[in-house]
């Protein structure tokens, strides 16, 4: 009866206070839209300047191959200085410069036809991508040209690429599931951290403590409603991922529910733990963001690869529960039920959840000290 009373109270508060609903439902929508549409790790429509010192049919054919690719939006520069000027003004990211002897050298099979590529290297990642794309386009053109001439391209080894799990290399397929983990961390931790701190601030906890209420009931009374709310947010995010962003979902729905529930427990546990240490909403929200959201963002392998972090930082990532959940989500969405990936990660999350919930239970006391 006492537990039921607390759950009902908390639910009524959630329903009347738009802010917790906003955190649970509005925030996933906004974040997913921003990341789903706004952020992309792919390079498409790279602005490119094409310069031919002596334009002829050969150079026109080469340029046309850039024109047909979705990766480039090229424009022809009359001369090199103009193209350099465009690069300086950031109107283009790279220049493909074809010298005047290009066609001549091309005819002569003994020689190599030189093409100059100038790339803006300020953003190193982008520069590397651009360089690779241009080389690929160049390669394609050469092979196509060789085939047309009835001879195979003069290459001893050919690399046949086959990309598994995300054949189109859509970064959205990778980002959206990861983002779900980040969002769920924030919802779970922020909501619980704030609501307990709010009870401290408003003095409602002092009155509750002197009732015969048991501490387990107090904790469960907080966990249950926010667990339901968090699972609701989770369902919304998954629905958006599948239907709006068309991310394939290959795994089992039931495993998704089970692992999400366990993951939500880890973030709710962290939230509770924070709220027991911090007794005001401002401090609680700061701690929640610094200790849960930021690590989930940066140390979980969501964007930055864990393998390329220095060793001490890698060790730190083991306590970030999002790290495990992101792996599970990627697997479930893109690869299917791979039990050798899912179960070890689930166990790790269970351990973290047990740690935080257990510590919260031990730390909370019916006392104001």
């Amino acid at each position: 009866m006492r537990l039921w009373g607390l759950v009902r109270k908390e639910s009524l508060q959630i329903l009347r206070d738009p802010s917790s609903i906003a955190i649970a439902f509005l925030m996933p929508v906004v974040l997913l839209l921003i990341f789903g549409y706004g952020v992309s790790l792919n390079a498409k429509h790279i602005p490119l300047a094409l310069v031919a010192d002596a334009p002829d049919t050969q150079t026109a054919a080469l340029f046309a191959s850039f024109d047909h690719s979705v990766y480039f939006s090229p424009k022809i520069a009359p001369n090199l200085p103009t193209a350099e000027h465009w690069l300086l003004n950031r109107q283009v990211d790279a220049i493909v410069h074809v010298p005047s002897d290009f066609s001549a050298q091309l005819q002569n099979t003994a020689n190599q036809a030189p093409v100059q590529l100038i790339v803006n290297g300020v953003n190193a990642n982008q520069a590397r991508l651009t360089q690779a794309y241009i080389q690929a386009a160049w390669q394609d053109w050469l092979s196509a040209r060789a085939e047309a001439a009835g001879q195979s391209a003069d290459q001893p080894v050919t690399l046949a690429n086959r990309i598994w799990f995300n054949p189109e290399l859509r970064s959205r397929n990778y980002l959206v599931p990861g983002l779900i983990a980040v969002i769920m961390t924030l919802i779970g931790a922020l909501l619980t951290a704030l609501v307990m701190a709010r009870e401290w601030e408003r003095g409602t906890l002092e009155a509750l403590m002197v009732t015969p209420v048991h501490l387990n009931e107090l904790l469960l009374g907080k966990l249950i409603p926010y667990f339901v709310l968090g699972m609701g947010g989770m369902a919304l995010s998954v629905a958006m991922a599948v239907w709006l962003f068309a991310v394939p979902f290959l795994g089992s729905f039931w495993i998704l529910i089970l692992t999400s529930a366990i993951f939500l427990l880890t973030s709710l546990g962290m939230g509770l733990f924070i709220s027991i240490i911090a007794r005001n909403q401002f401090v609680a929200s700061l701690i929640a963001i610094i200790t849960t959201f930021l690590p989930a963002f940066m140390l979980s392998g969501f964007i930055f690869d864990i393998g390329s972090m220095p060793g001490w930082l890698q060790n730190l990532t083991y306590i970030v529960s999002a790290r495990y959940f992101i792996v599970i989500l990627h697997t479930l969405f893109l690869a299917g039920d791979v039990s050798s990936v899912i179960w070890p990660n689930t166990l790790a999350m269970l351990a973290i959840a047990a740690f935080f919930l257990g510590t919260s239970r031990r730390k909370i006391r019916k006392s104001l000290e």
């Binding site: 006492r2 607390l6 009902r8 408003r202 003095g203 409602t204 009155a207 002197v210 019916k366 104001l368």
Partner: protein
């Protein structure tokens, strides 16, 4: 006091000790307290803020663990078995945590669930409680939208859902309007009579001591005395008088009386100056002064005890008035307010208020929490723009030249607005600079403040370590740094002990005599008597305005030939024009 058998006691405490903080800042909140609370009575725990009342209440409720001592509540060792104790007591903290986004009924339901009240008993119990607290019509209203008094009553109802054997009430009447205060007391006595409850109630209002069956007087964590209210005042019989002089200002008579060696205490009380004489002395002959014996009150006894215990300096402003009051300007309006209105969304905090204040006057703004005092105040200081109406302060229209007006006013906020991590000296220097005082002048004013307010010993003490009374002095010194023409004081005496309150008012009186206009808000009705003129506010409107005598006269009736300010307040609020006073939420 007769030693009651343990069976008749709801609570026994021995040698209770509780301190907070680490060594340099260590505060003994409760020091060696021994208590006995009898069954079936109302026991009052009386003392100013910081006396240790709340700590003691929390110790009894099992929310804090004492450093040492024993505590037996209803026959159970509270330290060994707090859960058993918590199941049989009701505790209402000072800021009772109502869930403001739940309705009255939902709050009651929650506490019924938590207290394990069987569903079959709920309907009757809820009806009983709602009837008792007068909340029956408001069950669907959100708790956050109740008035202060109604919130307190709902808090009490929640505590009482399952009738406790011992009820702990921590300052249930603070900041509550006088009408609700009386109602709360009526409820408490009804509980004792109908349900045989034992009640331990703490309060900072000394006049409430007389409503208790027994009183425990607490000061700086120690018990100063205990017994029936009468036992405190018995020995003062024949030593309290009211002095009256037909003409002249009462506060001048008060000041004069204070200089007499036989006078231990003199305060303004209605038309009289209430005087407490030293033992074996008689009223002295002063020209034109008539004396009448009065019944001693609890506050007289408390003040006397504090005087004997502590060595409070009686500091007054010693410098002669800097500004001679020009007789031509003495009675001009320095503050003129007309149709002043402030809306916050749909809520009207201040509604078409009109009044004026004359130079050198002490002008009071009285009302319960939420009456609109602070909002009015902030508009007068130019801190908050008015929604409608005009304000002129020191002849300057606040809407067009707020900065100009601000240079001539001093403002002391309710929370004192001092920098806790700065020392007294640094605070003074900061405020002097903020007001643009430079080199020579700055040094002069700081020296003046230290001298006048007796801050010498605390010069290098950090502000957070100052006793409350000294914080108040420092705040006032800072507000006076630039010799303002008008001093705004927002609830300056909240929580300060009666001795400091007296010293404070003495200083205010002297300032007024030097021609400084004083504007003050307070919820202590008795302090209204110090004002030359006052307005009583309720729900954003002015209920009455005029001198204290005139306001009191409004409540005169055959049954109440001699009403005090609180009676007047209650009469005004329940007057026909405001019949729905209790209903409308603020």
């Amino acid at each position: 006091m007769t030693a009651a058998a343990p069976d008749d006691l709801a609570l026994i405490a021995e040698g209770l000790h509780k301190s907070f903080g680490k060594v340099p800042k260590r505060i003994d909140a409760v020091a060696d307290v021994a208590l006995r609370v009898p069954l079936g009575q109302v026991t009052g725990l009386i003392g100013p803020d910081g006396a240790g009342k709340t700590t003691l209440m929390r110790l009894i409720a099992g929310l804090l663990t004492p450093d040492s001592g024993t505590l037996t509540v209803l026959g159970t060792d509270a330290l060994a078995d707090p859960l058993t104790v918590q199941a049989s007591i009701g505790y209402m903290p000072q800021h009772f945590g109502l869930y403001e986004d739940l309705t009255v009924q939902e709050n009651l339901n929650l506490y019924a669930d938590l207290q394990g009240l069987p569903h079959t008993e709920r309907t009757t119990r809820f009806q009983q409680l709602l009837h008792m607290t007068g909340l029956a019509r408001f069950t669907d209203r959100l708790a956050g939208r109740l008035s202060g008094g109604m919130k307190q009553k709902l808090g009490l109802a929640c505590t009482l859902v399952r009738p406790p054997k011992l009820l702990l009430l921590d300052e249930p009447t603070v900041g509550v309007d006088p009408v609700s205060r009386r109602e709360l007391w009526a409820i408490v006595y009804q509980l004792v009579a109908d349900e045989g409850m034992s009640v331990l109630l703490s309060t900072a209002y000394l006049d409430e001591a007389e409503r208790c069956n027994e009183v425990i007087l607490l000061h700086q964590g120690r018990v100063l005395g205990k017994g029936t209210p009468d036992s405190f005042t018995e020995h003062l019989e024949g030593r309290v008088y009211g002095a009256r002089r037909p003409q002249g200002i009462r506060r001048h008579l008060q000041a004069e009386l204070k200089t007499q060696p036989s006078v231990l205490d003199a305060i303004i009380d209605g038309d009289l100056v209430r005087v407490l004489l030293a033992e074996h002395t008689h009223p002295s002959d002063l020209p034109n002064v008539t004396w009448q014996p009065l019944k001693p009150r609890f506050e007289d006894a408390f003040v006397l005890q504090l005087r004997q215990q502590t060595t409070h300096e009686w500091l007054g402003l010693t410098t002669p008035p800097k500004k001679e009051i020009n007789p031509n300007t003495a009675h001009t309006d320095i503050i003129a307010v007309s149709d002043l209105t402030r809306r916050f969304g749909a809520f009207i905090a201040v509604n078409a208020v009109t009044f004026s204040v004359q130079r050198g006057e002490i002008f009071g703004l009285l009302g319960a929490n939420g009456a609109g005092k602070s909002t009015t105040f902030r508009m007068l200081c130019g801190l908050l723009p008015a929604s409608a109406g005009t304000i002129s302060v020191a002849g300057v229209d606040l809407r067009t030249a707020a900065a100009q007006a601000r240079a001539r006013i001093g403002y002391m906020s309710q929370k004192f607005a001092l920098y806790d991590v700065l020392s007294v000296q640094q605070n003074l220097k900061f405020f002097a600079r903020a007001y643009g005082l430079k080199s020579q002048r700055q040094a002069e004013r700081i020296a003046w403040a230290v001298q006048e307010f007796g801050l010498k010993d605390y010069r290098d003490t950090n502000c957070d370590l100052l006793p409350l009374g000294f914080k108040q002095r420092l705040a006032m010194a800072c507000a006076l740094m630039h010799e303002p023409d008008i001093l705004f004081l927002d609830e300056p005496t909240s929580g300060v002990d009666p001795i400091e309150r007296r010293a404070f008012w003495q200083r205010i009186n002297q300032l007024a005599d030097q021609g400084v206009t004083i504007m003050i808000t307070t919820h202590f009705m008795d302090e209204a008597e110090y004002c030359d003129r006052l307005v009583i506010m309720n729900q954003g409107t002015i209920l009455a305005a005029g001198s204290p005598e005139a306001v009191r006269k409004l409540a005169q009736s055959p049954e109440h030939p001699n009403p005090n300010m609180e009676d007047a307040f209650i009469a005004l609020i329940s007057a026909p024009a405001a019949t729905n006073a209790g209903e409308t939420a603020t």
